[in-house]
């Protein structure tokens, strides 16, 4: 797996692991049974097949029991998935440190950073194209918008993904946990240039981030 660089990346990975264990068990059990039956009941000279309706209680239990167990596994998966979903998508942190705006268009990302005063939609906002700068261990709320068609903002190391829809503003949040430079992708097909709609996210420590804000504000960035 690729690195986990946000606070909730591990929880999403854990749901994936939970599902992998549960369905892996069923998968191995079913395939094992399947191939064993094929081998065990291969055609033999003089042996006639058994006549079973499948509705007799003593054989039907071989269907009803696994079937109830599948339901139980489903309940666990639902609980795990909904918990993570609630945390990542449904709630927004009350004490977010900053708000950024992400605007998709054919075929580039525009990032509106709050700038030095840490307020969005003020004169010192920093606009960048295809480069998102965030500070590690700070909570960000993003507003996702699109100018033309559907795009989708995806940061694989954060495990976050959200479509941008023209006309709408969709909110989400993330909190980076390690510094570095990672891929940002558009994952909703958006026309000919979909494949080049790449961006980079720069996760910086406090000092680097302050430096970047300073340099970007004076117009020497990029």
């Amino acid at each position: 797996m690729i690195p986990q660089a946000s606070t909730y990346a591990a929880s999403i990975d854990n749901v994936i692991l939970l599902i992998a264990v549960l369905v892996g068990f069923w998968f191995i059990a079913a395939e094992g049974m399947f191939f064993w039956l094929i081998w065990r009941f291969r055609a033999k000279e003089g042996v006639k097949s058994e006549y079973l309706e499948g509705h007799e209680p003593h054989v039907k239990k071989w269907i009803t029991w696994p079937h109830s167990l599948v339901l139980v596994c489903d309940v666990f998966i639902i609980i795990g998935a909904v918990q993570v979903w609630y945390n990542v998508k449904q709630r927004l942190p009350d004490d977010a440190d900053a708000t950024i705006r992400i605007i998709g268009q054919q075929w580039a990302w525009t990032f509106q950073h709050p700038g030095a005063d840490n307020d969005l939609d003020t004169a010192d906002d920093i606009f960048t194209v295809d480069d998102l700068h965030v500070e590690v261990d700070r909570t960000y709320i993003f507003q996702l918008q699109s100018r033309d068609v559907l795009h989708s903002f995806s940061v694989p190391v954060f495990r976050i993904k959200q479509d941008a829809i023209p006309g709408r503003s969709i909110m989400g949040w993330f909190e980076p946990t390690q510094t570095g430079e990672y891929d940002v992708q558009c994952v909703e097909i958006c026309g000919i240039g979909h494949g080049v709609m790449a961006a980079r996210i720069h996760i910086e420590d406090a000092q680097q981030h302050a430096d970047w804000i300073r340099s970007a504000s004076t117009g020497t960035a990029q």
């Binding site: 295809d130 503003s169 000919i192 990029q222």
Partner: protein, 236 residues
């Protein structure tokens, strides 16, 4: 040949069992006309719930009368009722599932800015107010300024220096135009630059990755962009 001979033709079994149940069509027809008059008169009172009942309540009654008596569904086998009901239930399910996103203009962590703006605009116009051209439909107004816009939009491929070495443009084939190259300008004039920005590269047989921007920028703004592009021209 053991065929079900009794069950075909114009007067098959399906009919025989409801022969004699025929309603008085004339009576139903005049009831329908009466209901039509009520539904037209309903809005005259100008009371919302009266209109709702007289329009949609009566539509349901009328439809039911037609379906039960004219279409003879009242006497049809149960199975036909089942699948017709199923189709209606599915439509209710569809509207129920979709209205959260489409009927509402805001929800959990999202809002439909464009729709809200359209409602406001429309209501203002209906009230006879001056229609203010709303900026809200555009997600963000960063102000138009040709160098800024070039850096925002064009530079990802053409490079901030206009040299065709933007990050996204590095791997493209054909390569993004290099505005600092004298050869580029040898065969191009201003009309062509404006045309390509407006209609895209494909319109002159170049890369379709260079899309037309007429949807995003006005003609005036495109002229300004072309001016800015010309500043990269060697010796300009």
């Amino acid at each position: 040949m053991a065929e079900h001979h009794d069950q075909h033709g114009a007067h098959g079994a399906g009919h025989d069992e409801h022969a004699g149940h025929h309603p008085n069509y004339k009576k139903i027809y005049f009831t329908l006309l009466g209901l039509l008059v009520v539904s037209v008169v309903g809005p005259v009172f100008g009371i919302v719930w009266v209109t709702l009942i007289s329009a949609f309540g009566i539509a349901l009654v009328k439809a039911n009368l037609v379906i039960q008596n004219f279409m003879h569904l009242k006497w049809e086998k149960r199975i036909a009722k089942w699948f017709l009901t199923a189709s209606l239930v599915l439509m209710a399910l569809f509207v129920g599932g979709v209205s959260v996103d489409v009927l509402n203009h805001e929800g959990n962590n999202w809002e439909n800015i464009a729709a809200q703006a359209a409602v406001e605009r429309g209501l203002a116009a209906a009230a006879g107010e001056e229609v203010v051209e709303e900026e809200a439909a555009e997600p963000v107004d960063v102000g138009f300024n040709a160098p800024n816009m070039f850096n925002l939009v064009c530079a990802s491929c053409h490079g901030a220096a206009g040299d065709g070495k933007g990050a996204a443009g590095l791997a493209l084939d054909p390569r993004p135009a290099n505005f600092t190259d004298p050869a580029f300008w040898a065969e191009r004039d201003r009309a062509r630059i404006v045309n390509v920005i407006t209609n895209g590269g494909a319109s002159v047989g170049r890369s379709p990755l260079m899309v037309g921007w007429s949807a995003s920028f006005s003609a005036e703004q495109i002229e300004q962009l072309a001016d800015y592009v010309e500043t990269f021209r060697p010796g300009a």
